[in-house]
């Protein structure tokens, strides 16, 4: 329990339930959608790596909200009507289950609810140096705000984008516009280099041995990234995706095992409150690798 408290970095934790409307909802790659939602005041409290709990519709099913990483926040350009610019939060989601299937059918103006910003995001206070971001598929989402902040801090940022095929790679131009150097690899070679994103990571770490790594993606990928970083003695922060009911630390459904967890001295960390971003040394990787549920369950 002591460890749990020391893990929580200082964050403002100003969260709110927004009863709001969709501004846009578009398919950007087969199965991947990006949705802009009206959210005044959201941006100033949102930190890279935080998430929202999204209520798909007022009626049932689905019963529970779904967690989604924040892609970015921003303002729509002011209209010529003289009204102030409209603030939005944008999420990117992949259609994997009943909840996300309903979301994919939503349109501009539809009423939705979102709770956020939630959780403990990336520690990106570092003011300099080489940063390597590793994102797999939908795991690219929380890396966008992170990349922006790191670049603003004066860091040099390389993004390794991985996916099964080219369909899993999105927002390349947007990342590049931030000033990020991107490297793409796909399992089937339909875009970028053929092979796993972790092969690229190996190479980059040899070239930039002092780099820090940030990663989000499927558990198998995270586990491989963890092992590589361990070998190179590289600091790593990972963003996990667990099924959760509340998103605010009440249901205790989303816990993961912390480093040093044993039957006698169990350590369960709430991925919604202590996480979703963890420094890799605080996690029990053998347990995580075993519980490889690959995020399909939460959506």
């Amino acid at each position: 329990m002591l460890m749990r408290h020391s893990l929580i970095r200082e964050s403002k934790q100003i969260m709110k339930n927004y009863r709001t409307k969709i501004i846009s909802n578009q398919e950007i790659s087969p199965g991947y959608f990006r949705m802009k939602v009206l959210a005044p005041g959201f941006g100033e409290n949102a930190h890279p790596g935080q998430f929202v709990m999204f209520r798909v519709q007022r009626s049932l099913p689905p019963l529970l909200r779904r967690p989604f990483g924040i892609f970015r926040t921003g303002f729509l350009p002011a209209d010529c009507d003289g009204l102030p610019p409209v603030e939005f939060v944008e999420i990117v989601y992949k259609v994997v289950g009943s909840g996300t299937s309903i979301m994919a059918e939503l349109h501009q103006g539809d009423r939705v609810e979102l709770l956020g910003p939630l959780g403990n995001g990336f520690d990106c206070t570092s003011r300099q140096g080489e940063k390597i971001l590793v994102g797999g598929g939908i795991g690219l989402v929380p890396l966008y705000m992170l990349a922006g902040e790191l670049i603003e801090n004066g860091c040099s940022v390389r993004l390794l984008m991985g996916g099964r095929s080219r369909d899993d790679i999105f927002a390349v131009t947007e990342f590049e516009r931030l000033g990020v150097e991107t490297y793409i690899s796909t399992d089937d070679g339909t875009l970028g280099e053929e092979g796993l994103v972790t092969q690229v990571l190996e190479r980059k770490l040899q070239k930039y041995p002092a780099a820090e790594v940030y990663s989000c993606g499927p558990m198998a990928m995270l586990n491989a990234v963890h092992n590589i970083c361990l070998e190179h003695n590289t600091p790593l922060q990972v963003s996990l995706e667990e099924s959760m009911a509340c998103g605010v630390g009440a249901c205790l459904g989303c816990v993961v095992k912390g480093a040093g967890h044993t039957e006698e001295k169990p350590s369960y960390l709430c991925s919604c409150k202590v996480g979703p971003v963890f420094k890799s040394q605080y996690l029990d990787w053998s347990a995580l690798a075993q519980n490889n549920s690959d995020c399909g369950g939460c959506a």
């Binding site: 709110k16 529970l64 667990e242 630390g249 249901c251 205790l252 459904g253 369960y268």
Partner: protein
Amino acid sequence: MSELIDKALKRPNLAVEIAGIKLRNPVMPASGTFGYGEEYAPFLDLEKIGAIVTKGLSLKPKAGNPTPRIAETTSGMLNAIGLQNVGIDAFVQHKMPFLRTVNTPVIANFFGNTLEEYGEVAKRLNDIPEIAAVELNISCPNVKQGGIVFGTDPKAASEVVTLVRKYLQKPLIVKLTPNVTDITVVARAVEEAGADAIACINTLTGMSVDIHTRKPRIANCTGGLSGPAIRPVAVRMVHQVVQTVSVPVIGIGGIVTPMDALEFLIVGARAIQVGTANFVDPTAMLTIIDGIEQFCIDEGIDDIHQLIGSLKF
């Protein structure tokens, strides 16, 4: 004074009394869905709800079950959290200071692994002046010991209530499991043993399977089913218990909307608890309170007691 204003405005009286504690309205969270209150403070005014019910407390901190712990099912949620909690010491040290600042009765839910532990926690809770009442959990389906072992056997239930009663001057609410053949038998047993009120129902034991991996969807294999899926079962059981005992009954089970809450009140629940709905909408309880009030206004009811137990056959 506020009562006079309410009367002048023709606002219905929603205040109820459970086992000697006065609640401003009959709506409170179900244990385990509201943390220790603080978790939900950013989203709703805790001084608007009838009471705060804590996560189940035990003598020692409890880590809970392996993951995955939750799975959504049709209009329901299966969980096997395993009563993870900070333990009574940490509760007093870290959670009570916040709860003291809130002007709403605090009901401490607790459980034990053994009879002795139940007694020990009861003793400790009795010493905390700001705790208005305690809710004795003899109904958790997700832990090997503690909870359900006591809740399914009327004799064991009676024994644990008698013991706890011995150490406790505070009002005692006993929370019952629906996983029995006849809930009225256990209800009668705990009433006779000294319960001041009965809360029912806890979750229904259920199971769900991932057809692709062919594994249970939660690590514990079985879990407790909650949410709207169980509501009709809960209404029936609350009705049965109300017909059986003379102590007040707190209705629980799948309440999401004000209409859901009204069903429980009409069958005779003096108060209700909102569980899974807190996860879906952190402000659900406020919507329910407003909805009950509006219903009373629409129906020309000036006191909620006119509604409680008004079931017609």
